[in-house]
């Protein structure tokens, strides 16, 4: 059993005053804010996650790799088991009981995801295998149809490789050009530079909502409005935002919003692409096969309506249903409460780590999600990762699939602690102690 202290009970909370309005918390200091989400009971939440009880080589697991993949609570595990035990069949096909049940549950999951991001229409929620798949869908379905030689695609230095490489493939194929929004030393997008990149050839903006490598929360609502003023569509990579912030695609007015299930307490192999219905209607299918057609003959095939046009073959039905259960779970806790708790963890960790000699924080944006990327003087991140693992602490080390960010900060790699709502202040203390012991080994 892990020794934990709750956020509320911690006597050691002395986090600095940080901007928090973006996370929906309006108080200026964290102490009053902590009281305002008194119902947030991290101990009760932790009890829902069987994996958090694990011991790693005799040490309690301190799981701080949530930006890579978050853990699954018991209700979601149970949902998977129930589906496989009593509801499984292929969907949209047969007339028998199990097929009807599976279809109904799959489509119910779609509506849960629709509500989770406040999409106007369930037809605008496409199940994909994940964010990468969703972005590739937009590249093939929208990019290959509407982006031509000489057209320009605006991306940012912060992008994950999954929102770079598909567009490079498209550029290579079509002769389109990629323009890149630079960042400042804090890891924030230079919005003036972004706006200066627009011209009559600009066709699409691809931007991540929250940086996986640095935690920067980008001002995407403002960026989307600017793009729309210039008649340009915007694809948002929301993989790191959906698990940590309340996402409202109507408020953002984004054209596409992509995210993954496994970062959202759901299973791997499932993700979502939200797209505006009128756009999806105009797009060409990504994959061809069963379920995405209305009729097939060797002379002519008629495609199905959205969203089915984009869901060729048998989808990951169990994963989709479990993801529906996961967003129910998160919504019951409340995304604003989750964001506030995670921000308290970030503030507490940041306050300690900025004081540590030999520790360099990479990414110090004013608006940040609960991600701390750092380097230790004289210690390679992979050594940090292996030594922290010996203390039961799971962090990510490497380039985080964001090599342009690493290049910008002139580091080959960083160590990254990324928090979820089930992490505790005691786990932050464990991380800080772990970093000190790594420094001692290399002293």
């Amino acid at each position: 059993m892990i020794a934990v202290q709750t956020a509320l009970a911690s006597p050691s909370l002395s986090a600095p005053v940080l901007r928090s309005s973006v996370l929906g918390v309006t108080t200026a200091s964290w102490m009053p804010a902590m009281e305002s989400f008194a119902p947030f009971d991290v101990e009760r939440i932790r009890a829902d996650f069987p994996i958090l009880q694990l011991q790693i080589d005799g040490k309690p697991l301190v799981y701080l790799d949530n930006a890579a993949s978050s853990q699954m609570p018991q209700p979601v595990i149970a949902r998977l088991v129930r589906y496989q035990t009593a509801e499984h069949a292929n969907i949209h096909r047969a007339v028998h009981y199990l097929s009807e049940t599976a279809t109904a549950e799959y489509e119910a999951a779609r509506r849960k995801l629709q509500r989770f991001i406040n999409a106007p229409d369930e037809r605008e929620v496409i199940f994909t295998s994940g964010t990468t798949d969703a972005i590739n869908l937009v590249m093939h379905g929208y990019g290959r149809k509407f982006i031509k030689a000489g057209d320009e695609i605006i991306l940012t230095t912060l992008e994950h490789h999954s929102n770079i490489v598909p567009w490079q493939m498209l550029a290579e194929e079509t002769g389109a050009q990629i323009r890149v929004v630079p960042i400042n030393d804090a890891g924030e997008l230079l919005i003036d530079e972004y706006e200066n990149l627009f011209n009559e050839r600009t066709k699409l903006v691809g931007v991540l909502h929250v940086s996986n490598a640095l935690g920067t929360i980008n001002p995407i609502k403002q960026m989307i409005a600017f793009a729309h003023d210039h008649g340009v569509r915007v694809l948002v990579d929301g993989a790191q935002a959906a698990p940590h912030l309340a996402v409202d695609v109507q408020d953002l007015d984004c054209d596409f919003y992509a995210f993954s299930g496994h970062k959202l307490c759901g299973p791997t192999g499932i993700g979502v692409l939200y797209g505006k219905a009128d756009l999806l209607e105009k797009m060409q299918p990504f994959k061809g096969g069963g379920d995405m057609i209305l009729s097939v003959s060797f002379e002519k095939t008629t495609y199905n309506t959205i969203p089915h046009k984009f869901e060729a073959g048998t989808p990951p039905i169990a994963a989709a249903i479990a993801l529906g259960s996961a967003v129910d779970y998160l919504s019951a806790i409340g995304m604003d409460a989750i964001a506030a708790h995670e921000h308290a963890l970030l503030s507490y960790a940041t306050a300690q780590m900025v004081e540590m000699p030999g520790v360099r924080l990479i990414g110090t944006a004013k608006n940040k999600a609960a991600v701390i990327s750092f380097t230790l003087d004289g210690v390679h991140p992979h050594d940090v990762g292996t030594l922290l693992n010996q203390e039961g602490i799971a962090v990510r080390t490497g380039h985080h699939c964001a090599q342009p960010v690493m290049t910008r900060f002139k580091v080959p790699a960083t160590s990254r602690a990324s928090f979820a709502f089930y992490n505790t202040l005691a786990e932050v203390d464990a991380l800080v102690a772990g970093i000190r012991s790594v420094q001692k080994v290399f002293a």
């Binding site: 390679h380 992979h382 050594d383 010996q390 490497g398 699939c401 080959p412 080994v441």
Partner: protein, 161 residues
């Protein structure tokens, strides 16, 4: 469980802090650069062969402690050895790092046995073997080595996000 605790031993930390034969080699007869694309680490190995014998060897690069110590101890181990003896050691080290060497049977591993524990850490095996791949490439005048090469015994994608 894993004996990786033994990995960060004094001898490895010492070679990381004070790497032997670190730097460049004037007029090297053989040279190669090795990359580990998973972490961006790279290491270059240069050597001079006097007939069959390695009379001088040096390495440099940017890497983690495991890789740097492995490279440092490798240069110490192969200096003065013949090309063919060095190749035998390369094969034994690769076998040890991937858990395929019986350390109780006759071998030439010696002090390099401190790296035996790396076989329990699949993601770190590449760190330990990169210098050895690079040395092998240098002997064979291959311009660059990579732990992602087809010949890599640990070739396996390692996840991301």
């Amino acid at each position: 469980m894993a004996n990786y605790k033994a990995l960060y031993q004094e001898v490895i930390l010492d070679h990381n802090k004070k790497p032997r034969n670190y730097g460049t080699l004037e007029n090297a007869s053989h040279h190669a650069v090795g990359h580990n694309p998973l972490c961006g680490d790279h290491i270059s190995v240069a050597l001079n062969l006097d007939g069959e014998s390695v009379c001088a060897i040096a390495f440099e690069g940017e890497s983690c402690a495991i890789c740097k110590a492995s490279a440092s101890m490798m240069t110490v181990a192969v200096k003065g050895k013949t090309h063919s003896d060095a190749e035998i050691l390369i094969q034994e080290f690769l076998a040890m790092a991937t858990g395929k060497l019986d350390l109780n049977s006759p071998n030439h591993i010696g002090r390099l046995a401190v790296f035996a524990g790396v076989c329990d850490l699949p993601t770190r095996v590449k760190c330990a073997i990169l210098p050895w791949h690079t040395l092998h490439a240098a002997f064979n005048s291959v311009a660059s080595a990579s732990t992602e090469a087809d010949a890599d015994p640990m070739h396996a994608p390692i996840g991301n996000a």
